[in-house]
Structures are given as structure tokens and as C-alpha cells.
Symmetry: D3
Subunit: 232 residues, 6 copies
Amino acid sequence: MRIDEMTSEDFREAVIKGATVILPLGATEAHGPHLPLGTDTFQPEYVAERVAEMNDNVLVAPVMPYGQHSSMRNVAGTIGISFDTLRAFVTDVLNYLIADGIRRIVIISGHAGTSHMCAITEACRAVVGRRDVRIAFFSDYDIASEMTNVENDGHGGLVETSRILDIRPDLVRGARPVGTYKSHGHLVLRDGSVCFPEGMAGDTRDSTPEFGKEINDYVVRAVSEIIREDLS
Amino acid sequence: MRIDEMTSEDFREAVIKGATVILPLGATEAHGPHLPLGTDTFQPEYVAERVAEMNDNVLVAPVMPYGQHSSMRNVAGTIGISFDTLRAFVTDVLNYLIADGIRRIVIISGHAGTSHMCAITEACRAVVGRRDVRIAFFSDYDIASEMTNVENDGHGGLVETSRILDIRPDLVRGARPVGTYKSHGHLVLRDGSVCFPEGMAGDTRDSTPEFGKEINDYVVRAVSEIIREDLS
Amino acid sequence: MRIDEMTSEDFREAVIKGATVILPLGATEAHGPHLPLGTDTFQPEYVAERVAEMNDNVLVAPVMPYGQHSSMRNVAGTIGISFDTLRAFVTDVLNYLIADGIRRIVIISGHAGTSHMCAITEACRAVVGRRDVRIAFFSDYDIASEMTNVENDGHGGLVETSRILDIRPDLVRGARPVGTYKSHGHLVLRDGSVCFPEGMAGDTRDSTPEFGKEINDYVVRAVSEIIREDLS
Amino acid sequence: MRIDEMTSEDFREAVIKGATVILPLGATEAHGPHLPLGTDTFQPEYVAERVAEMNDNVLVAPVMPYGQHSSMRNVAGTIGISFDTLRAFVTDVLNYLIADGIRRIVIISGHAGTSHMCAITEACRAVVGRRDVRIAFFSDYDIASEMTNVENDGHGGLVETSRILDIRPDLVRGARPVGTYKSHGHLVLRDGSVCFPEGMAGDTRDSTPEFGKEINDYVVRAVSEIIREDLS
Amino acid sequence: MRIDEMTSEDFREAVIKGATVILPLGATEAHGPHLPLGTDTFQPEYVAERVAEMNDNVLVAPVMPYGQHSSMRNVAGTIGISFDTLRAFVTDVLNYLIADGIRRIVIISGHAGTSHMCAITEACRAVVGRRDVRIAFFSDYDIASEMTNVENDGHGGLVETSRILDIRPDLVRGARPVGTYKSHGHLVLRDGSVCFPEGMAGDTRDSTPEFGKEINDYVVRAVSEIIREDLS
Amino acid sequence: MRIDEMTSEDFREAVIKGATVILPLGATEAHGPHLPLGTDTFQPEYVAERVAEMNDNVLVAPVMPYGQHSSMRNVAGTIGISFDTLRAFVTDVLNYLIADGIRRIVIISGHAGTSHMCAITEACRAVVGRRDVRIAFFSDYDIASEMTNVENDGHGGLVETSRILDIRPDLVRGARPVGTYKSHGHLVLRDGSVCFPEGMAGDTRDSTPEFGKEINDYVVRAVSEIIREDLS
């Protein structure tokens, strides 16, 4: 069930029955020459909707399509928000959900940047410290990476390309690029995109919708399990 | 063109050609017994996409589905953000767009609450005061109301119901309600929903998809005109 | 009773008897070629003092002579504060009054700018949501406008000129100007004063102290009624 | 010249001639059994107006009647604002005055609490560090205390009582009290009013309007000298 | 006992026995040609450690070596933090100590700048207003000045030089300077160091480690007394 | 060179010669039954001082002994600051160093918590984005972990115990504990210390000062290399 398609009354009834809410957090970020700017939005939204279909009384909140960016902040098409705005956003939405009576919340972030994840974690921790609620939070990117464990695969790489080929094949463009993450050691960078000379990291030449489906299925099962195990 | 479906390179090229960006701002808010919680999201997103189809080099940024709420804040299904978070959100996204090279921006808000509009206005004014950019901002709700001018019609009323019947007929439920706005004078209310005993305001019994289409067409034309007149 | 003329002991006694406090909020703002910069301060202060004379145990807090400005912010003589400062100011003063034992508060704003009103509303709502207090808030400018209903009359127009002719005739200068509000559509303006080419809006040629008195009397009665009806 | 009595045009002309602005900062604070709550407002406003009369092109901004309080914060009739609000207020008003073209500003505070003074100082320092302006800031209470140098005289004491007897004799009530400041060492107090068991400090039995006039005359001369010496 | 040398278990036991914690606040600030930048850190840390040795169950928290600066902010070697950061720092540490079960806290500041002291005071007051804790706060500089009462002695003067000669004689360099505080009246200064043409104030030619020891012994006794009297 | 032992003049000269500043960031945090609360302070301070001895014109700023904590925040002896305070602290100190003329800065954090590191990173990134400065930032804990690569070794484990046995052997207490990190999946924890049932993670039975020295030497060499490679 998508919350934006429910009426107020539908929502009230779902709360009474002890609904779990999934909040998908997306991003609008440059993802190499081949993937759409909404890559980090499409993935968690897709996962959330499939989890909701497969599990009882799981509601999907509207996806937030803006996140916090560091490496890609200056690359064309990246449109984001600051650390503080993201933290405030998550805090506000959690407080609204809790005020509405929700006691089990899953936050799935498509983007997995360190500061982005930290902003969300800080918001969740502060809320959990004050309110009676169970919150699980993770990036579906990280779950996918753990499963696939492809060496040197990263931003816009084999895993993400395959997943988008499964979810939105119409949006993957041209040839399948190869890119290498170029470390700059411990220097704090003015423009982090220098670490991605090709705009992405990994070898996407073997990406297929079949592999993407395998990954997406795995992530959907993993999230379902988190709901059953961690949130009960 | 939806920005989330473009690649980084697509976006760069559109900027070089002087693209205009429409940022639709939605909300997740109780809209009476008959309308979906995403009512204020579906309307500006629909308008933005149709304006983009009809005008050259107009891009649609991902819709933000959370806004600031006063009257409906305690009603089941309303999920929002604070004044300060909304203002920070708009400021951040505007700064990103400007850094990307965008010089013409239209913000369309589906929700028209006074404080919600004020938060967005304050963000726009501060940005316009410092940066070289032209921004138009309005609520498509207000444009629709000015056109239709139906007495006592308001939140979830005849106009909104008709518009959603045109855009997402599958989401309008049950009977067509009648509701009356009940003023509480100048008292600052702890719970503003007492002004909406029926959860909405207006007489929706005559709502039709045809009337909705007429309104939506009008709004699309009005926005196109704003882009041509105010932003050039 | 003006609070600044009372001793601590006077105030304590008034609180015990259930005093109502009026907090007049003024502004220092350009008001055309003919009206003084304190126009928005003199009006609510005058109203507050007359309401206090005519009603039992109504105290007038010292008038705050600075508000938030948008349109007139760059015009000579406008001296104001930001949205956040105004909101914080109102919040602080309300909290002090409540801590002192006051349970009925009327805030009258002389300035009626949208963001100015919103800042005060946001402060009031937050306080009302947490504390046991009744607050009425409005602009005496709006009450006067509703009563008089003069077409195209606005900032520094017929109504304001007449009211100041009644309250401080010594401060109205030279000829009676005519000005037209010039709309700029939905564009967010860098300098809102372009909407007021003559620095004011309306036709003041028929302004008289008699009409001003009539309006002021009406406003005083309206505020007295709000205290009796809304705050009890 | 009081700014609130000037028109926009009057103000513009004064700026062109290089006007100095005095910003009087008052307070609403319990001042013992005999003095009015506006004691700290009446004094700097009186000084500012007399300095303006005696010096060329000196303008008096509207007095701000709320300050920051520590010792008296819980005593009936004290109505104040927080440290941050006061600092923001002074910052905003200074920025407006500078934007208007003012280059010489005198801030006179009636209240002399340490944190109150610090909030104003911090605002002034930040502005002076960024903008081309000369600002003098002091409390007329401190100038009066240095001149009179009465032992153990303080809040609501001989000096303040005499000054108010000169300025607003109608507002000094009943007998002339005697009070002793009771130190609590280095302990941070929850309620600082325990240091003022009588609500004031000093022996007011010898207070006279003549002595008050002598002090007020001295302060007015001192401020005139500051304008001539420090601000040129 | 230094807290940084204790284990978690040591600390828990000390809390159970009702430990008092001393939090020494230092600074890194230019102190004339002869004294080290850590002058304001070494003094309160030394005092705190000696008080802890001489009193039962007194723990010394790690010294904070950065404070807020005004006069010396632009002089080489001054490294500080803002008013707001210092206030937040003290607030956070106090809240941690209280959450840990500490109910008696002494804050000793080596630096005695007015705004620096105010930031700490504001933090302490806010905490004391909400939590069940006794806090004493002072500058050991002020205690030393009251005892010695040397005319025109100040920053980096006879008292501080003698104290550092007692505590860290290896760090006092070259000749003993003489400096004069040069008042700039009530003008808010862009660079406060103009008041210290020699970088310090006082006549240090008679400074000796013996005098320093005398002062330090006095301060240690005074702090011990504050713990016994004010905090019990 | 320790900055707190230098005079203002020493510092000025070092800046002219192009000094590099190391800012060690410590923490006061429970580190198991055997290690002192200052474990995360002693390590980076020791590294910083040895790097300064071995390299030309490298200055050590005073160590900041408080950091941000999540897992250990409720354990006895942990005394920390919030995310925002830490970020503000680092921002302020960096701005002071840059204003002083420093253009090469190394920040070494003893504590390596994710949010703690993120707060520092966010501060560094914002400063680097605006100012002409090179900043390297890392945790010496992470550098030590990469070198040693001991499985399941973590907070208060074999590496940290050995390092402290080298640096401050007097402070390591009792038996050498064994502890296991207990994952709680993706659940956001109210009290993160449940992941450390023994208060630490790793098997410290083989810890020796010799191993600690080996690690510390490695870290010192690694930091020296970062200064030579990344900062030039």
C-alpha cells in the first residue's frame, strides 16, 4: 500500500492494525554516463513497494527524492540538500509517523554516502532515544553490495546498472562504461568528483537485467526478514 | 523531461541551452473521506509534467511529497515537516540548481497553507536577494481557485475533487461529501482541524472529471504563460 | 493600565485577579510621503490603550516597535528584524507572560505583511500547543480593512491616513497622495518596493480625522468583543 | 528627532547629511516596591531624546522595551527575551541602519545585567567586524553609577530612584525602601532573585528629583561627548 | 584523581560515593612576549589538580584548552572558539556529567574575558534551571586578582607571570615586560588588541615564583572552601 | 613544538616559515575494565608529538579531550559533546588557524566512531570549500587497524591495549579481557552499549608494549608520510 494512494480513513485503520511504515529515501545524483539521475530513488522505492506487496500491513511512505551529497555535489544533475536539512527532514517525518500511532518504521536509503547515512542515523538515534518506537535503517545499496561482493564495484557500477536494468531498463543509456575509483588518501577534497574520473566506479560490461533481478529479489527478501526479525 | 529520468550529460546539455526547471512541491495530508493523502502531490506533479511536454526545454525536478501543515497536522495520514525544514529544503535545492547553471525556476506548490507558502516564499526571497536567478512561485490550488471562484469551496472541495477525478480517478473513494469551514475567529487554535468538522470544505456532489480537466487545462496554460511572461 | 507604569506588586495583583494582557506589535516602516515611520506602531498602541481603558483588568504590554518587512525593506526609514528574530521575540515574551501567570493574551499587530503575520502565528501556535493559555492574534489593519472595504486601498492609503489623522494629526505631512499597487505576478522580487511606485497604495484625498475616528472606534469595539467572546 | 515621527523622506535627507542614530534599549523588569516596571526603558529613552535635542542631526530610533534578564527573571512583572533573541534583534536593527546609510550609531541600554550587556556587545562586535560603521555602546546605568559612586547602591537604588523622580515622578510609589544585595558566592543560582530579598539594592531614603536631574544632566553630557569624541 | 586516568569502573565507584567534579576550562591565547600561549590552560589545570589532591573524592575532568576571545582574537597564536560553541560545549559536558550521576560540579576558567565568562554562565544557568545539580563557576584569574589587588595589573601581568613562574618556570621567556591597558572608551572595536599595545597589561618586573606560589596556594584554598561551603 | 608552550612571537615566526599544525582530537570514553577513560586522547596526542619531533616546523595544537559518542554514551565515565558542538568546534579552530596564516593542517582523531568522524569531516569539507588551505583528516585508530588487521579486534581490544601499554603502561589495569562485538542488525539502538557486553571488543590477552610500540611507530611514520605527500 502506498500511503499517498490511501485516504485518511484507510491510514487510520492500518495504524489500528499495527502497520509498519517503510520510508524510502532517494537522491537526485549524477550516476555516470549511462544511468539516470534518479537511480538512487528508483531502487529503494522499488524495494519498498515489493516488500509491501509481499508482507501484511506494510505501508510505503512517499519517497523523498533528495539526499545529501559530497563526492558528486558539483557534477551536473546532482540536486541535493545539506546534512542539517536531511537530518531535520527525517526527524520531522519520524515524529509525524509516531504521532500518528506508527510504532515500527523501516528507512531504506538508496544513496549510501557516509555523511548522508550519518545524517539519517543521527535523526533516528535522537528519535529512538525519546520515543517508544522501533526503527530499522540501512541502505539497500549496502545490502546489495554485501550479497554481490564484486571487487572494485561502486557508484554506478555493475550492481547498480544491473538493478536499474531490471527496474527501469528504458532509462539505461548507450554503452556500458568502466570506471575506477581514484583514492586521494586522507586529504579533505574541495571537489570529491576527482575520485571518479569516469563519473562512476566498476566494470558494467557484464551488467544484465537478470543479475539485477537476482539482486533486487535478494534485497526484497532481506528487508522482509528485517521487518520480521528486527522490528517485532 | 523529468530530471530523474535524465542522465548527468542530458542535464548538462539542457542547462547549456538555457533550461527552465519546474520544482513541484507536494504534501501528504488528510483530504477528507474521499481523496487520497497524495492529493497535493499529484496535482502539481501533473501540471509540471504537462507544462514540460508543451514547452521547450522545461525540466521537471522530482516532486517533494512532504510539506508544512497547520490545520490538518493532527489528522490521521498527514505526514509533514516543520516550517524551518521546508524553508531549508527549498533553499538547498534552489542553491543546487543555481550552482548547476539554472537561471529560470518555477516552484509550484500543491498545498496552499499560509505558513507552508510563507516558508517557501522566505526561502525564495533570500535566494533571489543574493543570486542571479529568476524564480516564479505560486500554488496551483490558488490558480485553480481564482479561475473557478466557487463559493465556500476549499480543502478537498469541488475543485480538488474534480481535478483528482481527472488525474487519478482510481483514487477517489465512495460518496461525494459536503463540508463546511467553521471559523474560530482570531483565536490561535491548538488543533486547527476543528475548523473542518467533515475533514474538508465545499460541496463535491457536482464534481466531475470533465470539470477537473477544464481546471487542469487552465492551470497548465496559466503556468506556461508565467514561464513565457514572468521568467523571460 | 500600561504595564511599564505598574510596579511589580501592581502586576502581581492584576495576575491574581485574572488579567488579560494585550501585546501591541508595531513596526518602523516607510509609509509614503505623508505618514510617519511609526504609523504601524501608533495604531495598535492606541487601540490597545483604549481597549484597556474600556475593559476591566486589561493590561497593555510595552509596544514592540520593530517588525519583519518584505516590500518596504529597502525604502529609506524602514528598520526591521528578520522572520526568525520576530518569531523568537514573540515566543519569548509569551513564555514570560505565561510564567508570570497570565492565561489570556491578545496580540495586535499594526503591520500586516504576510511573512510578518506568519512569524507571529508560528510563535503563537507553538506556544499554544505546549502551554495552557488562550491567545487571540490579528492585525488591526485587517480589522479596519474589513470594516471599511475601500477598493484598492492599502499600505499608507485612505484608511491608514485617516486613522493617523485621528491619533497623531501632527505627524501627517503635506498633500494627500494617490498611489497604485503594481502587481508583478508570481515573480519573487528582489526589491518588493517596485510594487509601490508612489510608496503607498490608495487614494488619500478624502482622508479625514472623522473617518479615522470612526474606524478606530470600530476596531476598539471589535477588539473588546474578541476579548469577551474568544478569550473567555 | 524621533525616527518614528519622521517620514521616509525626512529620514533619507538626514542620512544624506550624515545623521547619527541613537538606539535606546529598555527593559520591562521588577524594580522594587516603588519603581515602575519600565524604569530601564524610561531612562535611556529620556537620555536619547535630550541628547538628540542638544546635538545636530542626531536621530532617536524607537526604544526597544524588552531585554534579557537573569536575577529578576522570576519576579512578577519582569517580561523579557532570551540572550539569543536580544543578540539577533540588535544584529538585525544594526544591519538595517547600515543598509539605510547610517555610519554612526550609539546604543544606550537602560538595563545593565551582565548577560544582557554581553548579548548586545556580541552583536555589535560581529557587525563592526564586517561593516564600515562606528558603534558606541554602554549602559546609562553604568555611566550614572560611575558619576555618583554611592556605596552599595544598585538595582532600584538611590540613583535609579532619583533619576525616575526627575523623569517620571508620577510613577514612584509609596515609601522609599532600603535593600541589601545578598551575595551567594560563586554558586550558579536557579533563582537569582534570592540576592535581592527586598527586590532592590540601596538606600533610597535620600532620593530627590534634584539629585536625579543632576545625574541625568551628567549622563546627557557624557553621551553628547561620546558622540563628539568616539564617533567622529 | 584525573578522570582521563581512571577506568569506567573507577568512575562509577566515585560517583556512588558522591564525587565532586572539577572541570577546568583553559584557552590558547597570546599572553605577551614572555608567557606561553597555554597560560590560561596551565593555571586552572594546576589549581584543579591540587584541589583534587587535597580534598576527598574530587575528580578532575580533562581540561578544555580552547575558549572564546575578543581582545586578543587577531593576535598570533590565539586559537579559540565562538561564543555559541563554548556555550554548547559547556552545556553538553554538564549534561553528560549529570547523566553519569554527578551532582556537584566546579567549573574553573583560566581565561576571564567578559564574553567567555558569559557563555559559560549562560550554559550553567540553563542547566541549573532544568536539572538537580549544584554548580559553582568562577575564574581563578578573578580570585587571584581579588587577593593580590595590584593596581593596573591585568592580562599577562605581574600576577599571571608570577603564577606561571611557579607552575611552569621553563616556559617564561626573556625580560619581564611592562604594558599599559589603553582604553578606547565606549567604542566597539574591530580589533580589541589596540587596547594592549605591548600585548599585555601590568608591570612584571617584580614577578617571582615565590609570589606565584603564594597566589596559587591562596586560590587552591579558596576553591577548596567553595567546594566545602557553596556545594554542600 | 607544542603550541601551548610557545609564545605568540614563536608562533608568528613558525607561521612565516610555513608551519604545519597537527590538531589532535581525543575523547573521554569508557574503554573496558582495563583501559583509562583518556585512551582516545593519549594516542593521538602521543602520535602528534612524535611526528612533530621528527619533522621540521610541525606544531601540535592543544589536544581536545572531548568527542561525540554513540555506543558508549551511557556507560560510566563517558563524557562527550554533541555532533553539532563537535562540528562547530572543529570549524572554529580551523578558521582561527587559517586566520593566523596556517595553510597545512592535519587532524588526528583518537576516537573513530562513525558520527564523530562525520562531524569532523563535515567541518573540514565546509572550510576547505571556502578557504585556501590543505587539510588531512583521519583516525590513528583506523591507521593502526589497517596495519594490524587483527580479526574481531575493536574498541579497547588488542591494538588499543598494546598501544596504551607502550604510551601509558601505568594506566592499564588488572587482567587482560576478552570481549565480543554483538551485532543488532539494522535496528537503531536506544543504548548502543548492548553491542559491547564486556565493554570492549577483541582478545587482549596477547597485548604487549612491544606490539604497541610497533603499531605506534607505524602510525607515526604513516602520519609523517601524509604530511610529506598529501599536504605539499
